[in-house]
Symmetry: C2
Subunit: 334 residues, 2 copies
DNA sequence: ATGAAAGCGCTAACAG
DNA sequence: CTGTTAGCGCTTTCAT
């Protein structure tokens, strides 16, 4: 492992000039620069990060808070963040919290420690008050989910618009009794999707009925999707279409419909959300909304690093989603 | 951000002693230690990592090379590694390579740089020769997949034994014409599972027939699973059971069987491998083998950090798998 | 049991 | 355009 003084000696100059060449912080004569480059190449020199960071008091690390990465939806966001950050010279530390508050605060210590220069949060409850506080001291960006306090910037899709688009589509294909399967969590996305659902109905002159709205468990699990869907389709006035706020819940809904002796999409249309990999491995293939996971990650990282460098100009961003029409929806037949 | 000299001043002693208290590197009088602890608590002091690492010439970081984390199977391994490493005082940098050789070597530079003290690899081809070379210079552990050169330790399940157990089960339930759906990759796991399949047949006195063995694409994708299974079941002498080396391939096989007008498990039994989350969301729920992802990660991290500290005693480890009997297999009826 | 001081590798302020 | 030098925060001899 060569160090800067080895390069200086080899090039016959001082370490300061070598540093200048490496960092481009001052003009160096072309000949000197060339000699330095040659020496660097010869020794395959790379500056020691610890020395540099100690000196600059910057970690060039960002934290990514994620509840788990088993969910492929988080996985692509994280990939987008990691690749982008590295391109910009930042490392990434994944804070996989598994909903463990202790682990979460251990990770937050990394910010206090100077271990990291900023953080991206992927699962902030809408009522969260801790993040705005933390954001006063450290650069923070929220991705996908965000709190109502709009002092902390976020990157996400337009959940309200996406939900509205889904329900408008169902209405346009003749459905009038449309159910909604949500989740009992406190994510803004769940709320916005419910609002979008309601808004589409109202604009179409269809009354919003609480009996057509059901909620699955906080963690969107398959079984609770079955349960919630069953509540809706077992009623006398069964919906002819169901909008579910996640694909797993939609797959649960399909199961519920099939178990009730009806079929998808002939009797009941089902729409999911997320476009998980296996959404197209099921039969029928799921109509759903896909989120640009990688881009969401990329934008978040770009935004955070701008904030860290104090180059921040723009605030919250909304990225486009895609409505994906597959086989779990059909035109309504009376 | 307080520093060690602040603590020293507060406690009325030298920085050296503070350091000794923090690191337990020498005996310090109880009274002094108590004063130091009090000062640390008062200032909520945490040693600066860059100063410490610069001094100790150790990064306390490990690298985890993973092709992607969209695959939930990798996700749980990574979680196991991360949690274990952090408990032992090590950070983790995910090297998500997406099969990009450039990115891969960028990440390997992090080892040369002193950015990381060691690495865990999750997807080594069995013929790989680069890893044994790299392992001469840096602490390295392989997880799940490994190269034939046994100079580099690994942690994995017994793929041969697991495959044998699956096929023995099928044989014990009356099946005699058993097919195998593998992959054209060069992973040792694929090879071992094929060997286990063959060995079980041979021990049962059943001839191994090449016409009952088919291969899906390198990336185990769903469509190629359908294709490979179709090759086997479209034959005059169709197998009555299929052992697939991954769940996604098994789900493809189920689709192929259904599309051929037969059903699973009544006509053909199907077994997968991995126990992905959605294996039990399909109908029929998949009989499969589950790997202890989290434990595989944990053991790899433990082993690597031992190697880094030169405490390495044990070599390669095999962890127990679990055969999970669900609904995609049935007793053979002639 | 404790303190003084060197120095890990680097950058930046200052001087020329 | 370049060199000298201080010092980032910490650990670790070497003294005492």
């Amino acid at each position: 492992m060569s160090k800067i003084s080895d390069i200086a000696k080899e090039a016959g100059i001082s370490v300061a000039t070598v540093s200048r060449v490496i960092n481009g912080t001052a003009t160096v004569s072309p000949e000197t620069a060339a000699r330095v480059q040659a020496a660097i190449a010869k020794f395959n020199y790379q500056p020691n990060v610890w020395g540099r960071r100690l000196r600059q008091q910057a970690s060039r690390m960002i934290l990514v808070f994620v509840p788990n990465i088993r969910n492929p939806y988080y996985a692509s966001i994280v990939t987008g963040i990691e690749e982008t950050a590295r391109k910009l010279g930042y490392g990434t530390t994944l804070c996989i919290t598994n909903d463990d508050k202790t682990r979460e605060s251990e990770f937050k210590d990394l910010l206090q420690n100077g271990h990291a220069d900023g953080a991206i949060f992927l699962y902030i409850d809408k009522q969260n008050t801790e993040i705005p506080k933390l954001a006063k001291t450290f650069p923070i960006v929220q991705c996908c989910e965000y709190c109502q306090d709009d002092s902390v910037p976020h990157v996400s899709i337009d959940n309200f618009g996406a939900a509205k688009q889904v329900v408008n589509y169902l209405i346009s294909t003749g459905h009038k009794t449309i159910g909604f399967v949500g989740s009992q969590n406190h994510y803004i996305s769940s709320e916005e999707r419910l609002n979008g659902y309601k808004s589409a109905l109202i604009e179409a002159g269809i009354k919003v009925e609480e009996s057509l709205i059901a909620f699955a468990d906080v963690d969107y699990n398959f079984k609770s999707g079955i349960r919630a869907a069953r509540e809706l389709i077992d009623q006398v006035k069964s919906p002819t279409a169901l909008f579910c706020i996640s694909d797993v819940l939609a797959l649960g809904a399909i199961r519920a419909v099939e178990e009730s002796g009806r079929s998808v999409p002939q009797d009941i249309s089902i729409v999911g959300f997320d476009d998980v990999e296996y959404a197209s491995m099921f039969k029928p293939m799921l109509t759903t909304v896909s989120q640009p996971g990688y881009s969401l990650g990329k934008s978040s990282a770009d935004m955070l690093i701008k904030k860290i460098k104090n180059e921040m100009t723009d605030s919250s961003t909304f990225l486009p989603h895609k409505f994906i029409l597959r086989d779990s929806t059909a035109i309504f037949k009376a």
